[in-house]
Symmetry: C6
Subunit: 276 residues, 6 copies
């Protein structure tokens, strides 16, 4: 049991509840909805674009609910074994090592699978018995079935705006989650975040947010994804350290978004308009 709590402590960097809560400004009723899902043992899917605050929200909720948080970044090659665990061959025998999902299930942690749609089907399917009334994790390799400890909750994130070839969540998976929609914050709040995190004056922050809104409108003209709040903060950081704001916009806001010459020109024109 001491070993179990060590495993959680090692995986959960937000676990020290004496710390200040992770900064998060609620947009609507998402905090109440998440709390009800938690108490009703319902899994949650956070839908929204890159960099709009989904990860922060989960960290905030974990702090608020006093639960450890275990985060897993999903990708093409994430196998079920990476989640559940594996046998390690050691010179003195074979030992079983729990994966991060198993640790979360045993310890009643919130388990957050970031960009879940990137994972392979065999990885996603192991989540199924954890998301219905069974709340069980079968471990085929040891023949064990673990009942989720009280407090365990599965949370996944998902970016519906980014088109993937062939990859999608199966309907039978989607129906296992309550879905909370996220978006970029409204202009005033986004400007407040930019100013607070970077130290630029409010006028600059507001101008950057205004620019971001114009750039996001280019999505219809072929921009693969809208610039995130994170990009605005990076731009503001450079501006706050003496880089001319127009130059900061070019390197931190425009150039990362595309390699297409006409799109880049259109975006730089908008920079010019905003910071003449």
């Amino acid at each position: 049991m001491a070993e179990q709590s060590n495993a959680v402590a090692r995986l959960d960097r937000r676990g020290d509840h004496h710390q200040a809560p992770p900064y998060y400004l609620p947009a609507a009723d998402e905090v109440a909805l998440f709390e009800q899902c938690h108490h009703n043992k319902l899994a949650v899917m956070l839908k929204g674009p890159t960099g709009c605050g989904k990860t922060r929200f989960v960290e905030h909720m974990a702090w608020r609910l006093r639960r450890p948080l275990i985060t897993i970044s999903c990708h093409d090659d994430l196998s079920a074994s990476d989640l559940i665990g594996r046998f390690l061959i050691r010179h003195d025998g074979t030992v079983w090592q729990d994966g991060p999902l198993t640790t979360a299930v045993r310890s009643g942690a919130i388990c957050y699978l970031d960009e879940v749609v990137e994972a392979r089907q065999d990885t996603i399917v192991v989540l199924h018995p954890l998301t219905d009334y069974r709340r069980q994790l079968p471990i085929d390799k040891t023949g064990e079935i673990i009942d989720a400890a009280p407090g365990f909750q599965l949370v996944v994130s998902y970016n519906p705006g980014y088109q993937r070839m062939l990859k999608d969540l199966k309907p039978s998976t989607r129906q296992r989650f309550v879905a909370l929609d996220f978006d970029f914050p409204p202009p005033d709040r986004e400007a407040q975040i930019v100013a607070q995190e970077s130290g630029v004056p409010d006028t600059t922050a507001r101008a950057l947010v205004e620019l971001a809104h114009k750039l996001r409108a280019l999505r219809d003209r072929g921009l693969a994804e809208a610039p995130s709040t994170r990009l605005l903060v990076a731009t503001a950081h450079l501006a706050a350290r003496g880089i001319p704001v127009k130059r900061a916009c070019q390197v931190a806001l425009v150039s990362p978004l595309s390699d297409d010459a006409s799109l880049l020109a259109a975006m730089n024109d908008l920079v010019e308009l905003t910071f003449p």
Copy 2:
């Protein structure tokens, strides 16, 4: 033999027959049909949409027939070894470990392969000699052939409504099963389930079921899969805990079903109509 029954006990969470039976309200003659299949040693295929109660039915039948139940969720990477077993290398030698199918065959359990069509062909083909008059499981790796213990029965589930690319059950596999068709329960019974599991008043439960029927009609307009009874119960749970029912429908019933803006709008209109 003690080891064998331990393995079953470890894999079967429904094995305690002193417990109350798993809640299941029969729709037609499926209980009698299943019992006759069991007594005639015929394998059964449960056909029907996600979340319409197939898993519950199997659990109920296992309880009713006093058989242990071993459930396996199928997926793309489920190998024959995952079902049958493998050699484990240990520091003191190599030991054979039965997989869940082998455990079921040896102990006379009901073995339930959920979403069998997701499994690879090599996994499905090992089921063949278990589903004809032979009732045998050959284990190539040990050179052993196991006769199924009395009471062993193979059950698979299959969702014919969900289109898969390239994947389908081969006719030579299909012909090895008696097929029982499942569908969502009729309105009255579905409302009864929703009210009983969530605690919402009957009027709310009936309204939710009415809404579900309207949403299911959207399948012709591109909805990949109809909302399940499970989604209705999740929605009702949130409503029972103080979330406004319209909001609960948005996050637990509508948003999980699609990312398509026009489909989402159509679904939210139906919510508005039902809970004005």
Copy 3:
């Protein structure tokens, strides 16, 4: 040598020749042809639809020729090592373990590869030197070449009616077999089998066979494969245990064959016509 005969006994469930012969009613001259192939050391290919009695025929012939029978179900992932054998790493060294084909070659058994076309090319190619005048099995991993013991015979089955993408037997493989064609038994004999195996009255058995012939005619309208005698027997089993015969036809004869609504309707109409 004692070890060898143990391996055969473990793999061959038909090996006890004091038992009654496996039930098989010859259709034409297939028994005589098979016997001549056996005595001339010619490999045999059984061509025919699923469930028409190919496996039973091989079991019958093995009993008749007093040869052990080793059966291997082929599939996509069946590797040459699965057939031939492999080195097992044990704590006290590495030992070679014969695969089922090697056991058959050493012991002069009949080796039956069911649905051979499903296997990979590298698996099929190992059969080549066993099917010409050499009658040898080279084992690359041990550098051994085994001469087939007297009585060894290779038999494969193959369903020409089932279309596979890209997969087919190479002409250089096909030319290594004498091909015996199988089909469903003629009506009278099929009715006799159905009645004898299930216990239904002769009139019911004949009506079921009549229905099967009508259903088999639907293959031109898109039915992937004709209903087998095995399906008729399953249907009759249910009818013999009190399930109404029309309902038994629906779950055991019609529903397993297709998910297509119009095909299912057409088939159920035929059931209605046969059992009004």
Copy 4:
């Protein structure tokens, strides 16, 4: 060295030169050409259809040249390690085990790669330094370079009539071989072979050869490959054991060649014409 000759003896079943020579009736100057290639250290490619005697020819030449013969059947999954050798992990350490090609190179054997085009490119490329003036086999895994012993010769077979998707020998590989063309024997000689190997009377043998010529003409109408002399011998074997010759033609000559109904009908008509 004793170990080396043991390895060759184990792999070479034609190595006992006190035995009678393998039966082979030369068609043209292929024996002289092969001998000159052998003495000039030139690799040889045998081009021709399935079952026309390529393997027998190599066995005959090995006997004639007093060289051991090592035969390797190529296929999709034949890896370079299968040819060259591998490290085996044993409980008392790791030992290198020569593959059949390495054994041939060290011992000056004739190494015959049957159906070489089926092998993977990485397998074929290891042959390159053995087929030019270098006559060396580099073994990457041990860092060794072996000079071919005197008498070593590489022989490959290749069926140009069988169409493969995407697979072909690279020009840089083809140019490393002298190519000897093989075909079915002329009618008189083919009838002589059929009679001698099966024991049927000369008139039957000649009729079978006449039939084969008509069947081979069907290649323009879609027959994937012409019936081989081997098929004729199998047919004759059955006829010699009492199976009516027409029936023997159906099961051993026609049915193995195709599953196409119209081709089968056309072929059976030709059987009818030949044996009315």
Copy 5:
């Protein structure tokens, strides 16, 4: 800790800060921008064609910022384990070995991923938590989460001009970097570099740069990539050692760029024009 600094010293060949700085002539404000990114803990993406000085720039900045530099060349088969580390099985047990990224994270080095777009998605996704406010590297296999040491910075390079099939950086990855654009140096500076590195006279260097500009204009006519400064230096090296400059251009500047006969002719015409 001593072990850690040994690992860095072994991986970082620019770590000796008593050495002269790597030669780098700034083109614009890239040095100041990089320094601000470094101080604001922002990851940097260097965009530009092959051979225009991106690698040199990173080496220069590492020297300037007094940080160790660890360089990783990305490719198709670079796995997450190659970056993060793996367990090594040794005869006396299993030990964990940090990969180069982990070493950089622990030691506060600059980690430079050259041609990052070539790597697999699972490799790229491990960079995500290092590039936002978390600055953490989770190591799934040990269950450890490492906070990046002060001074750690992630730098990637990327050639937007080279078209790749199917491969591209995901928007959610791109948005994690500040992007600095690189291009070939202006003519005067490029001539200065060519003369200084090769020893050819200034007139020759200027003529070579003039030729390169004409060749780069051929990109619209199908040249896959523009000749780099590196190619000019190689050409000049040969010219400085007595190879006629026209011949040096043919072998070191023209022939490496294409196999297309008409493109080669067009390029050789330009050589002729420049060095008549």
Copy 6:
């Protein structure tokens, strides 16, 4: 160090500089160009058709420059580990074994990668840091970075005339080499080589070369690759041993080049014309 020179000696069969130089007749200034590249530490790419003498040229240059030569035949499955080295598990622990590239880098050998375009990208990319000013080989698995010893040079060969699907050298790789173009020798010199290596009279050798020129002209009519000097020498060898020259042309010059009936007829017509 003694171990290192043993490794080189084992891999380099041309290392004995007391031997006569490998026979090579220069075509133009390729010897001088190669020497200058060697002294300027420039990597070299040899472009030209199969069998035109590229391998001989490298062997000659290694002898001339008194460098050991290590040759690696590239293919689809050549992995980076095959070049660089791997850990071998032995019963007494794990030892690192240098691959051939690492041996070349450590010992200052010429490393020749034959048909480099056949290798996988991950294999090619490890060459990059060896081909610019760094001259380093990073070994990820040991965390070591090796500086190339003086005299180390990378040489690759490449056949631009042979069309590969999807495979090509990336521009960023091509730009790392000086390219020397090779072609078949001019008629007089080719005849001289044929006569000298085979022993046929000069008139026969000249006639064979004349025939080869006519055959090479067929490349526009679909011949995949021109007949090499190597094929001419093989043909001449057979002619010198008594095979009629026309027959020798058929088996050693025409038949290896194609399976296409009309191309074979056209080529045999040319043989007939040359040797009536």
